[in-house]
Amino acid sequence: MSLDIGRFHQVFIDEAIEHINALEALALKLDPEKPQAEELNAIFRAAHSIKGGAATFGFEGLAQLTHALETVLDQVRKQAMAVTGDLIKLLLSATDCLRAHVASLQGGQPIDQDIEAKVLGQLQRAGGAEDGGCARTGAVPAQTHAANGGSCIVVVKLEAPELGSPEGMLRIEQALSGLGAVERLTSADELAHAMEVRMRLTSSISAAEVQESLAFVWSNDRFRIELDAPPGAPADYSSKPIVATASFAELEGDDAGFFVENLPASLERAKPNDPLALTGRRSYDFRPEAAQFGRRQVDRYVAIPMDTSSIRVGVEKVDRLVNLVGELVIAQAMLVQSSAHAGTELSESVSSNLGQLDRNIRELHEAVMSIRMLPISYVFSRFPRVVRDLADKLGKRVELVLEGEETELDKGLIEKVTDPLTHLVRNSIDHGIELPAQREAAGKPPIGALRVRALHQGGNVVIEVSDDGAGFDRARLLEKARGHGLAISEASSDEDVWQLAFLPGLSTAERITEVSGRGVGMDVVKRNVEQLGGRLSLRSAAGQGTTVTIHLPLTLAILDGMLINVGAHTYVIPLTHILENLQPSADAVKTVGGGGKVVRVREEFIPLIALHDVLNLAPRFEQPHEAMLVLCESNGQRAALQVDELVGQGQFVIKSLEQNFRKIAGIAGATILGDGRVALILDVAALLRAGQRSEPALSTAQ
């Protein structure tokens, strides 16, 4: 079990940055007047995701921060706390803090412990204060807001009529008092000869915003903003209105300008008369109301090294590209077809050019298709750590085996399958694999085996999580089910009993531990998988272990398949299901009771499924010995599919039927053939299941 720590850290960091960006964007979008529940939920999810990842990888500082953030957001989400401008500011400063933290993990500047501690304190207080603090401050005038403000020194040059006069100073003070609490630093004595006055401004808005606001009052060359005195020289803040009213009153001690540290340098760099340079990001929302809490100085993370080896592109752009290239492939195929008809009239150079075009388009097609596909190692690579930590915690010994890490699947699926898979892995260690002593007592090696493997099977990616642990306790599941008022017979098959584990609320109380997370049970895993268009099955044997198998569709995968004809229609059979093709002799086919047919293949009788019956088509050949048989296997079941003709093998781009239509039993998807026609891809597993139970065809007809 070799660990490539660097790799999975990078994945986590990429994701965390994505979540932080989402968090920030959502926080900026939040409208204090009417917050959208959906947005609040999305923010919560983003924070939750970061927290989950951080905890998994042992980034405790980050986990702590996000936990506090999550607590606040949870209250907001449940409407126990109102959305106020302050809250949004707090969210944004938390976002900054997270970003800085992640940047430092990535090898940027060291973490600023002070800032972090401060934001954490604010979050914890906000979370603890429930609705009291946060909602109340919403109504308090701006200068008393102290959620995350700081203090800074504003130095204003005096101009001719004001020189040396107390009125000039008063005017400056008035101008500043709109932004926060003002303290004169230039005494009356000094004023007589001073060319400029110094004021300490303690405000809820960042120094950058102070800069912006003051730009409306004075020209940029008339004032400047300086760093406030360092902590340790505590100013007499307790007499300021700020502390008296603020619910996040931590200004007393080391409040020396959370937002200000980097400011002098940044202001110098960003020419003060260029307002855009100050805010850094031009894509920000410049509506006036957004400006209140939206703009912050962003120089803090300008220093993060940009990863230039990859770019992030909207998935819809890639999808469009994929579709267009698909069209190109078809157009090219048509061109080749018509050139074949033209025969010898076509000059040789045109033919060879067409061949060149063909190769180029094929390569283009492959390149485009590969954009969306990522190896599942992106998910798998986090398991070694998860397993190690969890096993240590529980005093268990587990050997993790990862297989098929190179199996590629759609990026969207990778992201969404991570949580369910992690949950299954945790489940296996927590509930499946026993303690070493128990294992030895049961005659098993003390080290439990946990195997996670991925493979392509037909139109699916199959991911298996299997352990050699205790397995499901049939009796207890049955008992629990009865406790829930489910009528279930003692004689039910194991398969039916295991299905009970997927029912919501049926996870047995003994099985919930801190390890298994926030009460997320198998039902949630199952639902997640089903949302992805996949399905989940479970095999378990008492004392021998449990295997959970997830079948996921590859929305954009390329499928190796066999084109077959039935009557006038063309279908694709996924190649992975095909064992062999054969043409039976007339006496190899027998009819068994009930009208079903079997075919003898090398001393073995295999059920025969006539596709034209299942698909209600008029076949060219009724009799199996005239037709072709495609011997297929799925989930240990075998059957021979009777088809009229084999057309050929090829690679097919799987297209979803469900995007504009619905799921059709027996059909896994569709693909577009070289001539632009649509061919349906058969769902061999479903066909075999239906055939096995000799159900009346596929009963979705209605």
């Binding site: 994929v322 209600n616 239509f661 059909i667 632009g676 061919a679 596929l698 979705t700």
Partner: protein, 170 residues
Amino acid sequence: MQAIAQPSTQRESGLDQADLRQYLSFALGKEAYAIDILKVQEIRGYEAVTPIANTPAYIKGVTNLRGNIVPIVDLRLKFNVGEASYNEFTVVIILSLGVRVVGIVVDSVSDVIMLRDQEVRPAPQFSAVFDTRYVSGLATVGEQMLIVVDIDQLIRSSDLMLFDDTRELV
């Protein structure tokens, strides 16, 4: 498509345009119908539809619309009107309904018309080929009565069984 999208029956263009809407009218059996033109993505000929086993006859199958798999529904078959023949004059209206794209086969596409909201009058209970649930009103253009159809509702309806219930439109 471009030509069709242009209003051809512009009336009282000087007046307030706010409540004017464009509709695409089409014939189904003996009746004329109109649908909101914003739901119409394009109009195509009927071509190469791949039938799907074990679906109702009015679901003709799926076709390839620039790389998307789009189901084609023959409203003539569904509502048992007109003649369900397929030739070079058969017209498919491609509808864009939220996230879904669906094609419908009708007898013929007639015109693009402008109607004011108040010109679309509530429909009495009558026997059109489809349920009055999907009829948002009646309008008269010249001598002709038009049945204004809520095509979203119709396509989405469980009558048509086009979609799994799990995914909402829009």
